[in-house]
């Protein structure tokens, strides 16, 4: 097999040799296809985030980074990336390429990064074939420079939530429950005035507790330590770069010391060691080898974090004491989990992750065959393993009942020993092989760079259907006419194993062209130093869907008990029918842009982009009869159009000892569903087709019901979601059928993914002082406040927040005129608690994502090249309309943190 590869290279080489031109000149790289703005490590040096993704908010034009949540491990909350909005009903994850290989960004630490760029244009997407449609984030790691350089960095940070929900204290909660019960028609209050007084005074706290659960579980802050050391150097024929990163993050959860052998306080430490080596083997051969070893260890309580936080939110202050007077954990028959016990006394879980990433590239100048000919060969082998160690136990708790002075206890649950479970949680191996043969030549004003690239990638994971394989062969030609006209063309024959046999490959052509107007002889402007117009158009694909969709299989099905002694028989279940005419998801991308430099200090660019995504897999069930009897196959017929504009500004000015820099970017992307194979809808406004992806839908409210008479008025549309009482939400009857039901749902606001995404950076330096601030914002975004206790109070024995009680006006007969929230109720109330504009909010925000204040120590103290001390902060403030919660995290979860850190960086 390897002979195939060799012959591939040699045959192309021969092809090029025969076409060689004698007039060869060395020529600078004019590759248009790698356009897309780049950030260099110099910008990232103002950041201290442990997760690389957290340093990228608003930095790169076109890269939409939104905070993400991970319900299991606090420190795995990696942000979610999208490039230039959303274009698909399927998976929209962009491709992340690190040193030329598809890899997880979370393997890196910030210091290793040399540059990050976002590839958006059609040629760049086509280069990545079946993985290119969602756009590409390209990261390169640092490489050694000549000489000997060293840099050491240490920082210590405190993390605090910049917003935390507040819940009612016990007395307020008790009054709210009484009010809710009265609203529900139950006139005997659950809590007497005497009992409410006990809650207030703290008397008989065992029976009338007042517990601030967040205070019980959280300390005021978490911490983060980071140490980095970087060394690089070498001579012409050998250069090295070595980095060492250690970080230790500690959450603000504070488990109680219960004398157990473990401490379940969530933490994470990671250690990265990277070595990048460059060799010159002789005069024509370059070899580089990159190695990254990473170990990471995370601890958390054995109870799922999301459940733990939900129980902290949903347990009212009045429910039960942390511990009853006997010392046992508190709890009741209704509230069966004690949040502090869930944190401290359930055991723990530890994940150890070991990653080994290795790649090697060899570049051979083949000028001895033909001038300008070269070959490249690269191979990467990555190995990732996750080891999970869970030791869980249960705890017993007691419910105190009775009256003051006459307390009795009822016991629940059982304390168990720590149980052991150790498993290899996941294992992933991936290998990538690529080879390039290229030929550069110039003749007169014409310069060409042509290459053929072959690439194959295999990712093998444990579990079923987790293996992906891809393969591409492509030809790329770049052309430059006297630095006035540039053009790139690509033809990529790219395939993926998710497709049926015989349909693996698709052809992805793309071209781009640019005109550097400022290089024309007629162009004479002292103001405009550089002006370029460029455009690209092309195809790319996305194979992020399951295997074997075209086939039908029988699977093990349900059980039935034949025979009088109940023998279990298992059935064969038929899987979904095969997809007929499965196609690779395909993107047609085009863009048109202008770049300019004015007065040698201001860089601006503006572009328009368009994408039409087709062959998206969509459900077939909306049109295919349910009498079929099995799962209806999906159909490759979804289509989405996405278009928008992008602006970038960058301005640098230096006056005497003042340096001022301003840069910003702005993206507006609007998508539209062209086809999602939607079922027939009785009203035109019910169709989702024609609206944006993830559009928010709900009922439009029309105030609150004032009286029973109003509800019973035959002219009032009947609301069919359940019994309605005064103070419940009244809805607009959209189709005038005098009934409010699911046919009255309309489009409300936007989606949770913003249409407008922008970021800007302010850099000021004076003498040895400097400040750098990174802002990021979004607009045209809608959020839905539907978290129980936080926003939906008291239902199913949940809690109530100060948002409902104090920040807003709930309906009572007295506040009917000014109320903006419905009445309190203890019931499920499907009428009020459903998607509607009462719970919908403008999700726009502007956040200060990063702030760096630094001071460079003057002179060459202690013979150091450079020494800097700094104060940094991340996520310091947010301007938004939610105020009560983080606009990017409405649900019950570990809060997003502001980080305040101080550190020192020394370069030798």
């Amino acid at each position: 097999m390897n002979r195939l590869y060799i012959s591939l290279i040699t045959s192309f080489a021969v092809l090029v040799v025969t076409a060689q031109n004698k007039n060869l000149k060395s020529q600078s790289d004019s590759t248009n296809h790698s356009s897309g703005l780049k950030i260099e490590s110099s910008l990232l040096q103002h950041h201290s985030q442990v997760n690389v993704g957290d340093a990228l908010y608003g930095i790169l034009p076109g890269l939409n980074v939104m905070q993400g949540t991970n319900g299991t491990n606090i420190f795995d909350d990696a942000p979610k990336f999208n490039i230039r909005g959303l274009s698909t009903l399927g998976n929209s994850n962009p491709l992340i390429i690190i040193d030329g290989i598809e890899r997880d960004i979370n393997n890196l630490s910030l210091h290793e990064i040399g540059s990050v760029s976002v590839l958006t244009n059609a040629v760049a997407s086509a280069m990545y074939g079946v993985r290119g449609a969602n756009g590409v984030i390209q990261i390169t790691t640092k490489r050694g420079k000549t000489g000997t350089n060293a840099s050491v960095n240490y920082s210590y940070g405190l993390t605090t939530p910049y917003r935390m929900p507040k819940f009612a204290d016990a007395a307020t909660y008790a009054s709210a429950v009484n009010e809710a019960l009265a609203n529900d028609g139950i006139l005997t209050p659950r809590y007497t005035a005497q009992e409410i007084d006990y809650f207030k005074s703290g008397e008989h706290a065992e029976l009338y507790p007042n517990v601030d659960w967040q205070k019980e579980l959280y300390e005021s802050n978490g911490t983060v330590h980071q140490v980095d050391a970087e060394f690089d150097g070498g001579k012409n024929d050998f250069r090295y770069y070595t980095a060492f990163t250690y970080s230790n993050q500690l959450s603000m959860f504070a488990p109680q010391d219960i004398g157990e052998v473990y401490n379940a306080r969530p933490d994470k430490l990671h250690l990265n060691i990277r070595t990048n080596l460059d060799f010159k083997l002789g005069s024509t051969t370059d070899l580089s080898i990159n190695l990254l070893g990473r170990i990471q260890s995370q601890t958390r309580p054995a109870s799922t974090l999301k459940d733990l936080i939900a129980s902290m939110y949903n347990t009212p202050a009045a429910a039960f004491p942390v511990r009853v007077n006997t010392g046992a954990w508190g709890g009741t028959n209704l509230y069966t989990s004690n949040p502090l016990a869930e944190l401290s006394d359930k055991g723990f879980s530890r994940v150890n992750r070991v990653n080994m990433l290795a790649d090697m590239k060899i570049v051979q100048d083949l000028s001895f065959l033909t001038k300008g000919l070269y070959a490249e060969f690269a191979v990467a082998y990555d190995n990732m393993a996750n080891h999970l160690d869970t030791r869980s136990k249960n705890y017993a708790y007691k419910m105190a009942t009775g009256t003051p002075g006459n307390v009795s206890y009822q016991s629940f649950g059982k304390t168990t020993e720590l149980a052991f479970k150790t498993e290899l949680n996941s294992l992933e191996m991936s290998s990538t092989v690529s080879a390039i043969t290229g030929y550069k030549f110039e003749t007169g004003d014409h310069a060409f760079d042509a290459k053929i690239k072959y690439e194959q990638q295999s990712q093998v994971q444990d579990g079923r259907n987790n293996t992906t394989k891809r393969q591409s062969i492509m030809g790329i030609v770049s052309y430059n006419f006297n630095n006035k006209y540039v053009a790139d063309g690509i033809l990529n024959y790219s395939g993926s194993a998710v497709m049926p046999e015989g349909d693996y490959f698709n052809l992805y052509p793309a071209i781009s062209a640019g005109w550097i107007v400022s290089n024309e002889s007629f162009f004479k402007s002292s103001a405009i130093n550089y002006l370029k117009i460029n455009t690209s158009v092309g195809l790319s694909g996305s194979d992020l869907f399951g295997h074997d969709l075209e086939k039908q299989f029988f699977l093990s099905g349900d059980d039935y008990y034949f025979q009088s002694n109940n023998q279990k028989f298992t059935g064969w279940r038929e899987g979904a029918l095969g997809v007929v005419g499965l196609k690779m998801e395909q993107a047609l991308k085009a863009d048109l842009g202008v770049e300019a430099t004015i007065f040698n200090s201001l860089n601006i660019s503006a572009s328009y982009f368009y994408e039409n995504r087709s062959n998206i897999l969509v459900s077939g069930s909306s049109v295919i009869s349910g009498v079929l009897g099995i799962d209806v196959p999906k159909l490759s017929m979804g289509e989405v159009k996405n278009q928008g504009v992008e602006f970038v500004v960058d301005w640098q000015k230096k006056v005497n000892e003042f340096t001022l820099g301003l840069s910003g970017n702005f993206t507006y992307a609007k998508n539209k569903i062209i086809n999602m194979n939607e079922a027939f809808q009785p009203e035109s406004y019910l169709y989702k087709t024609g609206n944006s992806l993830n559009q928010f839908y709900g009922l439009k409210s029309d105030g609150f019901f004032e009286s029973v008479a109003q509800i019973n008025d035959p002219n009032t549309p009947k609301q069919l979601f359940g019994e309605v009482k005064p103070g419940d939400i009244k809805y607009v009857d959209q189709n005038n059928d005098n009934v409010i039901n699911e046919y009255d749902i309309v489009r409300l606001g936007y989606s949770d993914l913003p249409e407008i995404y922008y970021g800007f950076n302010v850099n000021v330096a004076y003498k040895n002082f400097g400040i750098s601030a990174q802002f990021q914002g979004v607009a045209n975004r809608t959020v839905y406040l539907n978290e129980s206790s936080l926003f939906f109070p008291l239902r199913n024995n949940t809690n109530i927040s100060t948002w409902y009680l104090d920040e807003n006006v709930r309906w009572t007969p007295e506040t009917a005129a000014t109320a903006n929230l419905p009445r309190l109720t203890t019931q499920d109330n499907k009428n009020n608690f459903r998607a509607n504009d009462i719970w919908q909010r403008d999700g726009s925000f502007l956040k200060l994502r990063n702030l760096d204040l630094y001071y460079n120590l003057p002179g060459k103290i202690l013979k150091l090249t450079e020494a800097r001390i700094y104060l940094r902060g991340s996520n310091l403030f947010s301007l938004d309309n939610i105020k009560y919660a983080d606009p990017e995290m409405i649900s019950a979860n570990y809060p997003f943190m502001s980080t305040y850190s101080m550190g020192v960086n020394i370069k030798f």
Partner: protein
Amino acid sequence: MKNTIYGILIVITAALFTSCEDVRFGDNFLEQQPESFGVTLDTVFNNRFNAMQVLTKAYTTLPYAIPTGTSIKLGGDLLDALTDLSYSVVSYGGAQRLYYTGSYSAGTEGANSKYLFTDGSAWTGIRFAWIFIENVDRVPDMSAAEKARAAAEAKVIIATHYADMVRHFGGVPLLDHAISVNEEFVFPRQTIEKTVDFIAKLIDEAAPALEWKESDENDNGRMTKAYALGLKLRVLLFAASPLFNSDQPYFAGDASTKKLTWYGNYDANRWKLAEAAGKAFMDELVANGRYDLVKSNTASETAYREAFRKAYFERDNGEVLLSTRLNFKNNFAGRFCGGSDNFASGQTPTLNFVNLFPKADGTDFPVDFDWANAPVDPFANRDPRFYETILTNGRAYKGRLSQLYVTGLDRNDAAKDGTGLLLYKFSQDYTSATSLGAVDSWPYLRLAEVFLSYAEAINEANGAPNSVAYDMVNRVRNRVGLSDLPAGLNQQQFREAVLRERACEFGYEEVRWYDIVRWKIESAFTNPIQGVNMFADVTKPTGYRYELFTLKARAWKDNWSAKWYLSAFPSEEVDKKYGITQNPGW
């Protein structure tokens, strides 16, 4: 130099490819895909063992009324909760959410409704049964007789699903094969006549290949000829009843014009067909035996109750013609009653139901019973089936006596919002033996129903009951020690007696709903639903006081519409335009 370079390249690539052997190029590379599941239709039908698993899957789709979750029909409620016999207090159940409130509509059909037209398992069962029938001939290691019998079982499974569908929806799309991907997806609703004939034909085709009762214990639980013939009677009786067999449609509309909801006329011969189906069953029963009502050895209340309990509860008691067996030994009673141990019961029997049960001697319970001056136990001395169906105060329960008076132990939870009485059938005395260890089979069709259906068919076909009809009803009554029906009843009186007998015998067994629907008994929907509260009251000589009360009226009480007799088709299925005409009124 050149050689050095190639040398390096070759060494590296060779080292690479020998170290990881699965590196391949070209199509060969992409094909190296681990097959996750490779079981195809051909594999399944290449031996008996696998093929029979397809039939097993079809069995798992059979109707099963024991609540196993909230995503099933009625959200876990019981069909009887929609009748005058029972009132459900399960707040998440379909009765409370859709039917009592009247918010059921074509838009909500499919979630929490009483029959899930496409969200249930019926169409899957029909598909698997046809796949089996179409492919069983390919199986090498099965005898022709075995194949014929297994295919006949599959046909009866199809007939069973259609029997339920026709009773909820009227005429439905009739599938006579498993639909393939490439055919035109047009499946129009068929007329009542065609639907009923289709079911009868399936049974007629299947019956000869089936055993009357399995001769081999290993076949226990499979379809039998006895069940198939009993099912045919059930369907023909329903078809002959006034809902479908009438001069007038129950509700005018497009579907009625197309005769999808009725026959289009009244034809007395339909009752004759039902009678004939009953006679066919009885002839076989006489010839083959092996089935009988479960009877008691002694004439005591305890023994009668035991016999009755065995009759509905045990899967292989000689009386159950088909028990469906989707589960085994789960928290049966907890689920049946809608909750965990401390949520005692979600189903509360109504006073309307209580009043249907005769006294132990077979005479009627007085309609004008003086509840104000009731004795200590006004529920004493009743039909033994009463105590097996309904829990009243002071009966053996949870290892003690039940406390159903207000503030009593068993009135703590759900019962306080219901009728004041609790369900006893299936859950029984609610000990760990009857709940956690129970064998959860569902008595889909019992011999007692065949007897009562045959009696009814004779009465309707001949204008009056004859001695056979009396004998049929009396067998059911005598089994629990009740006296014979009084002689000399006219057609109307006998019909009412049979319907009442069916209510008492089959309470909570999904018979009552179909009875009130097929006879279009509007009063069963619109009569007030009553409950009875018992208070501890020292002023009364008995120590207790009883108060009757009317439960919150169901939405259909005050604006009754005959549309409720049949379900609505889900609007999304109508909108797919493959041939569903919506039922009238929806």
